[in-house]
């Protein structure tokens, strides 16, 4: 699993999965965050929290596996439930989320900034989906990890001095994991803690709008 050739989204998922500890209750956003499940470290068994009121989903049934149509994930897709999993209502679910009982939540970003602000739910004039459970998750989880490509599709920085889009939550992001680096949001600011193989500090700085704190020692992401 320590494949030095990992790149892009796979590298991001691989590194993000290294934040999980054995037994953690983890909420993974729809899309890229679920890729973390393919890169769990050995000996780390996590429990998946789904905002719709279930702990212990394990993913879609295989073609001939039996399933219960009433067991779905946060995207509405049918999933299997592992032994020891449990179901509860939405009120209880968000009590767990907001109450700090979820160890880690992993989400994507439209924008994230050096104060730990995150914008990932709306682009005024373009999207009208609504925030769903994202605001609760970012406010409530003990550790908030944003996994995102370092720049947007046009090459513009997504890691900013200050988010311009409407926020999902203010000052709650702990880590940002991209294909280039791992940034840790501390009281002093965003610290460049790890670099992907072959990536230089200069490259990260040039692709980041946020001010970065560059420590003497920077680890490798792999």
């Amino acid at each position: 699993m320590t494949d030095m050739t990992l790149q892009g989204r796979e590298l991001i998922a691989y590194r993000t999965a290294r934040f999980f500890k054995d037994g953690d209750l983890v909420n993974l956003g729809i899309g890229m965050p679920t890729m973390c499940l393919n890169f769990l470290p050995e000996g780390v068994d996590i429990w998946i929290d789904s905002e719709n009121g279930v702990i212990g989903l394990t993913g879609a049934p295989k073609e001939d596996e039996e399933f219960d149509p009433n067991v779905v994930d946060a995207a509405g897709a049918v999933s299997l439930l592992r032994p020891g999993g449990c179901c509860f209502d939405s009120f209880t679910s968000f009590g767990l989320i907001r109450g700090g009982h979820v160890a880690v939540t992993v989400l994507g970003a439209y924008e994230v900034d050096q104060e730990g602000n995150l914008a990932n739910w709306t682009v005024p004039g373009k999207t009208v989906a609504g925030m769903g459970g994202a605001m609760d998750l970012v406010s409530g989880a003990r550790t908030v990890i944003v996994m995102t490509e370092h720049c947007d599709k046009t090459g513009k920085p997504k890691i900013l001095k200050k988010c311009r889009l409407p926020l999902t939550a203010a000052g709650e992001v702990d880590y940002i994991v991209t294909e280039l680096c791992v940034l840790h949001r501390t009281a002093e600011g965003l610290v460049l803690e790890e670099l992907a193989p072959g990536v230089t500090v200069e490259e990260v700085i040039s692709k980041t709008e946020a001010e970065l704190i560059i420590p003497e020692t920077i680890r490798s992401m792999i």
Partner: protein
């Protein structure tokens, strides 16, 4: 107290312009039998409180498609592209509420609580027009209770006096929505005799339910 009635009888409680609580997450745990009853009765100009609007052509999506909804209070409409279209076109008004805050507000409405203080939404557009209260150095939004005229809900099993059991993730908003309306109508996949359900395993006490319809 046998609360099992026909769909027609249950629909006597439904009218134009009502505020209706409808549970469901995407299209799981949605009371589709009762929704079809509302459509057949012709109720319109409805004010819906729900988490989302199911998917195109199913569940709450039927009310969207038939243009029966004036306003929706919900956390997300992305799972139903038709809702998105009608909101963009100005045919339906929408108020977005964070999902956990929606739970809190409806629970408060059912439990005689005037409102709750939540940190969720601080520093975001959700703040707008709301009172901010600082406690021990932390900021909270005062989120007010929310209730409906009618709640329509979906259970797995109901006994004849309205004790309910939900199935897996189909429980979602059913359990709290059953507490916060003047009239609560439940459709159940299976109707059992009084005494058939384990008292410790009843998710909603029968005292909250006014009518039961076979789903």
């Amino acid at each position: 107290m046998d609360k099992v009635v026909s769909l027609e009888k249950a629909m006597e409680a439904l009218h134009d312009n009502q505020t209706i609580l409808i549970p469901g997450f995407v299209n799981i745990g949605v009371p589709e039998t009762l929704i079809k009853g509302i459509i057949d009765k012709g109720c319109k100009n409805l004010n819906i409180i729900s988490n989302n609007t199911s998917v195109r052509g199913r569940g709450i999506g039927l009310l969207v498609h038939e243009n029966r909804i004036r306003h929706i209070t919900c956390s997300h409409i992305g799972s139903n592209t038709e809702t998105v279209e009608k909101v963009v076109a100005g045919e339906i008004d929408v108020t977005f509420v964070p999902q956990g805050t929606l739970c809190e507000r409806v629970r408060a409405g059912g439990a005689g609580i005037g409102g709750v203080l939540t940190p969720v939404g601080i520093g975001t557009p959700v703040e707008e027009g709301k009172q901010i209260i600082e406690l021990d150095g932390k900021k909270y939004l005062l989120e007010k209770a929310l209730r409906g005229d009618v709640a329509i809900i979906h259970a797995w099993k109901a006994d004849r006096m309205g004790n309910l059991v939900y199935r897996r993730t189909a429980r979602n908003f059913n359990q709290i929505f059953a507490t916060a309306a003047d009239i609560v109508i439940c459709e159940a996949e299976e109707i059992v005799e009084v005494g058939a359900l384990d008292p410790d395993m009843i998710h909603t006490p029968g005292c909250l339910v006014d009518m039961i319809v076979k789903a």
